[in-house]
């Protein structure tokens, strides 16, 4: 037992480094010298780099039973990398002039970056979770800092309002999935995911377990902004500062999807009928609600919030499909990335992440009348004023829409292609129709950047980190569109480990089903 514990701690080095970095940020932020306080950003950056390297060098986590063990390494490295990008966006203006111009981007203190690192640590911990308590703590570690970050990121009443909304609704969702966890524990008598999985295999028709599972899933839907827990997204995304919004769009969402995969791993793929039906219904409702609400918006930040909802809907398809080899007649698909729903979700998370980060980064770089750029009118004619930022925005919009050669296209190919190979034709048709609808708001974003005449006096913020982050995200969105194959294959490998862990047990389920049907 003691060795097991030591092993488990050994896989947590990246997280420990992240926490140490968070503490270092916190302490450095206390300094009375402004120059020393400014090093906080560099400390955070160094922490992410070190944690990323350790995660990349580490071996895959060995766990007993279910869990995203195989994916943990992939996810930790990805989180560290995207974290660096987000960090670039969240560096504030350093020049005196910039500070005077942009009153609502305060010099962010050590607390902000400590929270930033804590939240990312939460995602990493989620990836390695094998226990309900661990999972709950990891999810809350992801979410709690974000509430504060929303409030801190912007010196406006709006931000406070959205922070409070976010906190209360977040607490409500946490209560929901905690209740679900409690029921799961009540049903299975253990908090270990592996034990619950075994229990679920032995008692496939346990109502209490199903109830707990669905409550947990619905509660976690808050993290990914899926129907019916999507209400907060638009208000919170609009109220928070754009760099923080970019953070919200990627980090809690990633943790949410990982948690969903863990939860559904309890019953295993192919999902039992009611659960599969539920996920499909949530997916369809989420993508449709997100897209139609996006159509009737004039505020770009809200549009991107609805787009975030819609993309969660697409990704739920991948969750529905699960790891390869889980459906009958998909024997050869294990060799290809297509058909691996988990890999598709992982890749799509990154694809969506880079694209949406690029979009928010552009908004974060612009100022209109001492406020953030938010409306289509603010973006009008950006091509003439700031060609580079406009290009980034166009790339981001087209990637989110899923046009080749941007990375969004590749992500959709894998996601929808996987769903097709598993026979979810109707769902894919709905998803493609939804993508078409989404053109109704992505294209106007691109079009107003390029074709419209400038309408407002737009200024650029003096924060090189943000601009560099915007350009970097856009470049990644294009480069990965071409060279995503490598990433896909590693996502595929990551997704397949789950399957191998499952394989024997899944076949066991099939046998049991046959047995009971006889």
């Amino acid at each position: 037992m003691s060795n097991l514990m030591v092993d488990k701690v050994a896989t947590l080095w990246p997280e420990m480094v992240m926490l140490a970095g968070a503490v270092a940020c916190l302490m450095t932020g206390l300094s009375s010298q402004a120059s020393r306080r400014r090093t906080v950003v560099w400390i955070a950056a160094a922490t992410l780099v070190i944690a990323g390297i350790i995660a990349a060098a580490g071996t895959a986590q060995a766990t007993s039973g279910v869990g995203l063990a195989g994916m943990a390494k992939f996810i930790k490295v990805a989180v560290a990398a995207v974290g660096l990008l987000l960090l670039m966006l969240n560096t504030s203006s350093t020049s005196q002039e910039g500070v005077a111009l942009m009153r609502d981007t305060p010099e962010l203190g050590g607390e902000f970056f400590a929270f930033f690192l804590c939240s990312l640590t939460g995602v990493m911990l989620t990836a390695g979770a094998d226990d309900l308590v661990w999972l709950f703590l990891a999810l809350e570690l992801t979410s709690l800092p974000t509430y504060v970050m929303v409030a801190m990121g912007r010196q406006k009443l709006e931000a406070r309002e959205s922070a409070v909304k976010y906190f209360f609704l977040g607490a409500m969702s946490a209560a929901l999935f905690l209740y679900g966890f409690a029921l799961l524990y009540g049903a299975a008598g253990s908090t270990q995911l592996a034990d619950i999985h075994q229990y679920a295999l032995d008692n496939p028709h346990d109502g209490l377990l199903m109830f707990g599972l669905v409550l947990a899933v619905v509660g976690i839907c808050f993290k990914i902004a899926a129907v019916p827990m999507h209400f907060y997204a638009a208000d919170v995304y609009q109220g928070a500062a754009s760099p923080v919004t970019a953070f919200l769009a990627f980090v809690p969402k990633s943790a949410g999807f990982l948690a969903l995969l863990l939860m559904l791993g309890i019953v295993g793929w192919p999902l039992p009928q009611p659960i599969a039906w539920l996920i499909a219904a949530i997916a369809v409702a989420t993508m449709t609600v997100g897209n139609v609400l996006g159509l009737v918006q004039s505020n770009v930040k809200r549009v991107l919030a609805y787009s975030s909802i819609a993309h969660s809907g697409y990704m739920l398809l991948g969750v529905l499909i699960g790891p390869p080899g889980s459906a009958p007649g998909s024997g050869n698909s294990a060799t290809s990335a297509i058909g691996n729903g988990v890999a598709a979700v992982l890749f799509y998370l990154l694809a969506y992440g880079f694209s949406t980060i690029a979009a928010f980064a552009v908004l974060a770089c612009l100022r209109v009348e001492n406020d953030e750029a938010q409306t289509y009118n603010d973006l009008a004619g950006l091509m003439q004023r700031r060609p580079a930022l406009a290009a980034v925005m166009v790339v981001a919009a087209l990637s989110l829409l899923g046009l080749p050669p941007m990375v969004g296209f590749l992500g959709k190919i894998y996601l929808f292609g996987s769903a097709l190979t598993q026979g979810y034709v109707v769902l894919v048709v709905i998803a493609v129709l939804n993508s078409a609808i989404s053109a109704g708001y992505y294209l106007p974003i691109a079009a107003s950047c390029i074709f419209s005449k400038p309408m407002r006096d737009v200024q650029t913020i003096e924060a090189p980190g943000r601009q560099a982050g915007a350009v970097l995200a856009a470049i990644l969105a294009v480069v990965l569109g071409f060279g995503g194959g490598k990433l896909v294959s590693s996502a595929n490998d990551a997704g397949r480990v789950v399957k191998q862990k499952h394989a024997d047990k899944v076949s066991q389920v099939d046998q049991e089903k046959q047995f009971t049907s006889q």
């Binding site: 037992m1 003691s2 514990m5 030591v6 503490v23 916190l26 302490m27 206390l30």
Partner: protein, 133 residues
């Protein structure tokens, strides 16, 4: 027929006894002091008890936000000490730390836990929470 000791409640008997004793102690003291104690009325005597301070103004006024921060910091350590007790009780039964990896682990974990509190404390200090000026 089951005896009390047979049922699973027997494990909680000690707790129940403790609760009864605590409640009994309080009730006994209150009753005893009413019965035995002398009665002298006076202005100072009937004042609200605030640990020897003179009560000023209404109790429902707004407090300085520092009070809450200090209170929370206090709570933090309070809870930590509550955790420390059972740990200390069990630690003794695990044997000496050297030679036994499990107890070393046990020690390290509590060390980490205390460390987190210390970090919070240092942060609060550095932020000027305990400065009253």
């Amino acid at each position: 027929m089951l005896t009390l000791a047979d049922s699973q409640f027997s494990a909680y008997a000690a707790v129940g006894l403790l609760v009864l004793m605590a409640a009994g102690f309080g009730i006994f003291n209150l009753i005893a002091s009413t019965l035995i104690g002398p009665r002298r009325r006076g202005k100072v005597k009937e004042m609200v008890y605030e640990s020897g301070m003179n009560p000023v103004g209404d109790a429902r006024r707004r407090f300085n936000v520092r009070f809450y921060v200090v209170a929370m910091t206090f709570l933090l350590f309070d809870v930590e000490i509550v955790f420390l007790y059972p740990w200390a009780v069990n630690f003794a039964s695990l044997g000496p730390p050297e030679g036994d990896q499990l107890s070393l682990m046990f020690l390290l974990r509590m060390g980490f836990f205390v460390l987190t509190s210390v970090v919070a404390f240092v942060y609060a200090w550095g932020k000027g929470v305990f400065r009253y000026d």
